[in-house]
């Protein structure tokens, strides 16, 4: 038994996250569901921290928990009217869904398992300093090459300097996409006068 803190906390957080995720599914009350979802997301963020992805974890907290989830709960409150808070799902549907879910999970674990048999874990560098890469993420977003080197296929070796992946373009696309979504969502959700509302 070589349980260090890393392992211990991973199991702890992973199990709690899993339980909370199941809680999201089984809770009938939608707001409680949201609370479970909050814990799931926070747990996921914890997993990210454990996996040395500080920046992603913090982003997860800031955007998911502080933004998206608040928005979702906001939506719940805007649409909540007594009976709609917990809408009952039929038992048959529950049974079917659960069976399908279990089958899917089995399929997934099976494929993970088989693939790990044939493709063993790649060796990973366990140096924490190496993985604290928020700076590299930022450089990637700014268009400086940070990915693995890629050599242009060419007759002459070394004719062109190796290219490294950078993420400026996707970053810009996502920015524009967010802006468009912002406008679109505002347009969709704006207060409309009902047609023929005067009558």
């Amino acid at each position: 038994m070589d349980i260090n803190f890393h392992t211990f906390f991973f199991y702890l957080i992973a199990i709690l996250t899993g339980i909370c995720a199941i809680g999201v599914v089984v809770t009938r009350n939608i707001v409680r569901s949201a609370a479970w979802l909050l814990f799931t997301l926070a747990g996921t963020a914890g997993i990210f921290f454990l996996l040395n992805a500080d920046f992603v974890g913090a982003t997860q907290l800031l955007i998911y928990v502080g933004g998206t989830l608040v928005l979702v709960v906001f939506g719940v409150m805007l649409t909540a009217q007594g009976p709609f808070i917990s809408m009952k799902t039929g038992a048959a549907e529950w049974v079917i869904s659960t069976i399908v879910g279990i089958v899917l999970y089995s399929a997934l674990t099976y494929s993970i398992f088989t693939s790990s048999l044939y493709f063993p874990n790649p060796p990973h560098a366990d140096d924490p300093a190496d993985s604290r890469n928020s700076v590299k993420l930022g450089m990637g977003f700014l268009g400086l090459g940070v990915g693995p080197e890629y050599h242009e296929p060419s007759d002459k070796v070394g004719a062109t300097p190796p290219v490294r992946t950078s993420y400026l373009l996707p970053f810009e696309i996502v920015s524009v996409h967010l802006l468009v979504v912002l406008i679109g969502a505002a347009y969709l959700a704006r207060a409309k006068r009902r047609r023929g509302g005067a009558s």
């Binding site: 707001v31 409680r32 608040v70 906001f74 924490p128 928020s134």
Partner: protein, 423 residues
């Protein structure tokens, strides 16, 4: 977790060694932080009462615990601890219970990444300031859940307002935080603090006009995101009874207050570190400060650390005091005005500042050389303003009538101020 604490293990491992040491250290650090948050909450509540009292020409607490009512908050806390724990019948029990803890956790987690002095930080993160913003943003969720879970319309309204306000104010606040981050080139609060070593004009507040403006913008947003007056719409007494914590009492209620005062200090701490030189006094030159820390032996190091922590906490408290000052000075805004302030004013201003500071960063060195005097100018102007204000305070006090300020409002006697105006 090993990664989180790596800096501490490196520092302490010779003395404790191995894994058990990590547990012990983690526990100690957590207790110290919780203790600090609780203690400062206690202090702030007392301070708030005294400040509001003085501002309203009252004395505030005077009796409990001796001369200044030192123990008033402790007494209140005792009362809250032993109060009956009431959960309304219509409330959603689970969410009602959950709310205060989520709020407190969000506020408390922020302290993990807050350096109180050079390397005096629980978790020396690369993205410390981002982390702090992130975890503080989860605080709002607790409040929403509390507002919803109470099953009361006042609470629900309070929660909704809180949600809208916090989500909106997070945006300009984050942008304002980015401004010194751009100047510093790192999100590591410890490094940012180190970069401001030296005389007062090394503070990022005076680095250039944009950071100067960014400080005020940030502080406004921070006040709003702590839901402090004049932005305290979530608990507006005149409209919503007590807002999201209408149904709360006892210990749960005090958790909300711990969370509020905790996040007040947290945002003040961020402001201190980003703009006001962190743990630096602003009086010692860079060489002297470095000498004291590194070359003056253990005594110097300890002295330096104690001084750092004291200076940092003093600065944080000063900013918290300013928040209280503002609370008792300005009237509360309407909710639409609050949102308008954010979206129509603070957001564009912060965006402009961001662009401006980025432009400043890419200015040619030759130009920067000539623009460097701005920081001296700003620093001297600010210091002069502070000195002038203090002088005015004392000189004004000497001009007050001997009977004290209270006599001005005594209706039976003609007011000296009015008389002075007439003559």
């Amino acid at each position: 977790m090993t990664d989180f604490l790596s800096s501490y293990t490196k520092f302490l491992s010779p003395y404790l060694g191995g894994n058990p040491a990590e547990v012990v250290i983690a526990v100690i650090v957590a207790s110290v932080l919780v203790g600090f948050v609780a203690a400062s909450a206690v202090f702030f509540i007392w301070l708030e009462r005294k400040v509001s009292g003085r501002m309203q020409d009252r004395l505030g607490p005077t009796r409990v615990g001796g001369k200044f009512g030192w123990l008033q908050t402790i007494a209140d806390g005792m009362k809250l601890l032993v109060k009956e724990d009431i959960i309304p019948g219509d409330a959603d029990h689970m969410l009602f219970r959950l709310g205060p803890y989520i709020a407190f956790c969000g506020s408390f987690l922020a302290f993990l990444a807050l350096p109180f002095g050079n390397n005096l930080v629980a978790m020396n993160m690369n993205i410390a300031v981002f982390f702090m913003l992130a975890v503080m943003s989860t605080e709002v969720f607790g409040i929403i859940l509390a507002g919803y879970g109470s099953g009361s319309k006042w609470s629900l309204f309070g929660g909704m307002r809180e949600a809208a306000q916090m989500v909106s104010y997070e945006v300009p606040m984050a942008i304002c935080v980015l401004i010194p981050v751009i100047v510093a080139g790192t999100m590591n609060l410890n490094l940012i603090g180190q970069q401001q070593t030296g005389i007062i004009w090394n503070w990022y507040l005076f680095h250039d006009p944009f950071t100067f403006c960014a400080f005020w913008t940030y502080f406004t947003c921070a006040t709003a995101s702590c839901k402090r007056a004049p932005f305290d719409l979530a608990e507006a007494e005149s409209e919503l009874v007590a807002g999201f914590h209408t149904e709360y009492s006892g210990l749960r209620w005090s958790f909300f207050f711990m969370a509020e005062y905790g996040s007040m200090f947290a945002v003040s701490g961020i402001a201190t570190l980003l703009f006001l030189g962190g743990w630096h006094t602003g009086l010692l030159p860079k060489q002297a400060s470095n000498w004291l820390e590194n070359d003056a032996g253990t005594t110097g190091f300890v002295l330096f650390s104690v001084l750092s922590v004291a200076v940092f906490i003093a600065k944080g408290w000063l900013l918290v005091f300013v928040m209280m000052w503002v609370r008792w000075t300005l009237p509360r805004l309407r909710i639409d005005q609050v949102m308008m302030t954010c979206l129509k004013y603070l957001l564009p201003i912060s965006c402009m500042l961001l662009i401006g500071v980025s432009a400043w960063q890419v200015l040619p060195h030759g130009v920067l050389y000539y623009l460097d005097f701005i920081k001296y100018l700003g620093a001297f102007a600010c210091v002069a303003l502070v000195v002038l204000t203090i002088y005015r305070i004392f000189s004004t006090r000497s001009q007050l009538p001997a009977s004290g300020a209270a006599s001005i409002w005594n209706p039976t006697r003609p007011s000296p101020v009015v008389m002075a105006k007439k003559s």
